[in-house]
Each structure stands twice: as C-alpha cells, then as structure tokens.
Amino acid sequence: MSFTLKYKDLNDKREIPKENYTIKDLLDELELSAQTIVSKQNGELVIEDTVIDDGDEIQLVQIIYGG
C-alpha cells in the first residue's frame, strides 16, 4: 500500500504506515502546518481529514510563506 507525494521539488513514493492514514497525519510527519498548506488528492482539492488510499497522488501546495 503506497502513495505518491509531491511537494516542492519532492516526488516520492511512500508507504501508507497505518489504516485511516490522513493528510493531517502526513503533514504532522513532515512537520508542516495545515495553516500554510493546501492539499490535493489525485488533482482535486481536499481537506486534511481525507484518508490517503493506495495509489493516490497527494500534492501539497504551500500557500503562505510570510512576507
């Protein structure tokens, strides 16, 4: 069970570590704030409570940089 993570220059295949693994769990793992990021699942905007499924492409877009 794996998904593809796209974030800035990153394009990584990652394992889904547990059942009901959400985008929020992923953001916590990457130490990113949900306040500064929007998430896309297979090209569509989704909220952070969304569960990541096998084969998903998850793209994280940083929308707040400060300044």
């Binding site: 306040q35 500064t36 929007v38 896309k40 569509e44 905007l45 989704v46 909220i47 409570d49 877009v61 940083q62 929308i63 707040i64 940089y65 400060g66 300044g67």
Partner: protein, 305 residues
C-alpha cells in the same frame, strides 16, 4: 462530510471559525460575496472610479485584481495596475512576469516600475549598507511613493491593495505593542488623507483570512507567485504573526474579534489622537511631505545619493 450549503460531498475547506464545510464552487462564491459585501459596507468604490491595483503577482494582489474585475465587467469601474520591482535577486522577477500576464489576460493598462530606475538603487544594494533600518522600512516607503506617483500619472481615483485579515490584525497588534498610536488611527478599509496628492487607498480583502485567499487562488487555478521574500524573516511583523496564529489555533475567531474591536474604537482613537500635519512639498522631489524632505528622499540622503 458534505458541503454545508449545497450538500456536495467534495468538500475543500473546513472553516475553523464557523465549523462550515464548503465545496469548491460554494467556497469561491462565498469569498467573492464577502469581498463585494466589504466593498459595499465600507463604500470602497464609486461608480466611474478608475482603480489602480498594486499588483505584485502574489496571491493577495491577484485575488484583488480578479474580484475587482467583476466590477469592471459590470461597467461600474475601470481598472489599471502597477507592479514595483524592488530589485530582489532570485525572487522578484517571477512575480513581475505573472503580474504582466494577468494584466494582458484582462486587457488592462499596466506599468512596471523598477526601484533602480526610479531611485538609482535596488533593495539588495540597500541591504548591503551598514546600519540599514531593515528591509521592510525601505521597501514600504519606496513602494508607497512609487504607487502614489503612478496613481496620479494614470489618473486613478483609488488605489487597491491586497491587505487581508491577517495583515490588518498584525498591523493593529504591531502598532499597539509598539505604542504607535499615530499609525493606529490610520488603519482601516479606506484611507482618508486630506492631501489631494494622496490617492485614496482601499483594502477589499480586509475581512478574508490569508489562508482562504491561498485556497481561493488554487481553487480558481489562478497563476500566482508563491514564494518567500528573502528578507521576510527579519521583520517584527513576522514575530507578531506567529503569536497571533498560535492563539488562533485554540481561539479560531480571534482575528475577526481583534478586527471588530479595532473598528469599534477607531472613531474614538481618531477623535482623541488626531494630528494636523503640515501639507508641504519635499524640496528634492516635490512629493507631498510634512518635512523638508519626504521619507524616500531622506533615505536617499542617508545613502549619500
């Protein structure tokens, strides 16, 4: 989970401040309606206005342009834009290019002004000077002066900036914490300068949280410059922003309540603390100034220019 408005299961945002869940279409509509509401409530536009958008190419200014364009399409106002190139290597050019493309897309008059050509120095060069006062001090003063000049050149009746809810709340708290009561009287949706040379400034996005503007541009697939100014971390604003965002995690309505509270006391502050400024001219450049030299020219003098 379903959209609180239309029941669509494809929810793109959960608003912590209200618990509302929204799908893409309802979210876009809610942002545009809210901005239009602010424009009407604060009387930001008059029919026949020519509005100059301060267009950096970032999410806030692109959203301002996009939503004000709906007033242009209804023949309520005319639009034009200005982009200031401060001269920040590996940062500014992308935003300038994006601004140019948006102006072309909408077919509006657009001017790009380089700090180097206007004042003979870039922000990068200023930051090499010893004892400089911090990037934002210079950037803010030079940018404001240029935008005001261009507004007169283009015969604009209003200048629209992309200040959002977070920017406004940061400004309220910064000025309060620094005891800067003079600046505290000047915030708000619309500037009210007595000097005719200063075009009225409006902030249509003042009640939209910064994150929601980011979600809006991604949802609408608008091209914007998402990047960090290399000098941003040196600012007091950054520190204040961090504290407010920490508070907002447990108290999601705190930005709105800070803004509402300020709006309630603003009238009293202005009444109690109003100052009459001398309306003179800078003896070097002729721009309006309360002192012998305007702020921009006094900085240039400090640089020996």
């Amino acid at each position: 989970m379903k959209c609180s408005k239309c029941g669509n299961p494809k929810v793109i945002i959960k608003r912590a401040q209200s618990g509302q869940l929204l799908c893409k279409d309802c979210f876009i509509e809610s942002i545009e309606k809210k901005v239009i509401k602010t424009v009407k409530k604060e009387k930001l536009l008059d029919k026949g206005d020519k509005v100059l958008v301060a267009l950096s190419g970032g999410k806030d200014s692109v959203t301002t342009l996009e939503i004000l364009n709906s007033f242009r399409e209804m023949n309520v106002i005319d639009l034009c834009a200005v982009t200031v190139d401060e001269g920040i290597a590996n940062y500014r050019q992308d935003g300038v290019d994006i601004a140019i493309r948006h102006a072309e897309r909408l077919g509006i008059e657009h001017k790009v002004v380089k700090l180097k050509e206007e004042y003979g120095i870039t922000l990068d060069e200023i930051m090499q000077k010893e004892n400089h006062k911090g990037s934002c001090t210079y950037c803010g003063v030079f940018r404001r002066t240029i935008i005001n000049k261009v507004a007169r050149e283009m015969n604009a009746t209003k200048i629209a900036t992309g200040h959002n809810l977070d920017d406004e709340v940061q400004a309220i708290m910064m000025n309060y914490l620094e005891g800067n009561t003079d600046n505290l009287t000047k915030l708000g949706a619309k500037s009210e300068s007595k000097a005719e040379e200063f075009t009225v400034k409006i902030k249509p996005l003042r009640e939209i949280p910064e994150r929601e503007i980011g979600v809006y541009v991604v949802a609408k697939e608008l091209e914007v410059h998402f990047d960090s100014c290399p000098y941003a971390m040196q600012s007091f604003r950054g520190e204040v922003s961090e504290v407010i965002n920490q508070l907002a995690e447990k108290h999601p309505t705190i930005k709105y309540s800070t803004l509402r509270g300020y709006d309630k006391i603003k009238g009293i502050l202005k009444e109690e603390l109003k100052k009459d400024y001398a309306h003179g001219r800078c003896e070097k450049c002729g721009e309006p100034s309360a002192n012998r030299l305007c702020k921009a020219c006094s900085f240039l003098e400090e640089f020996g220019m």
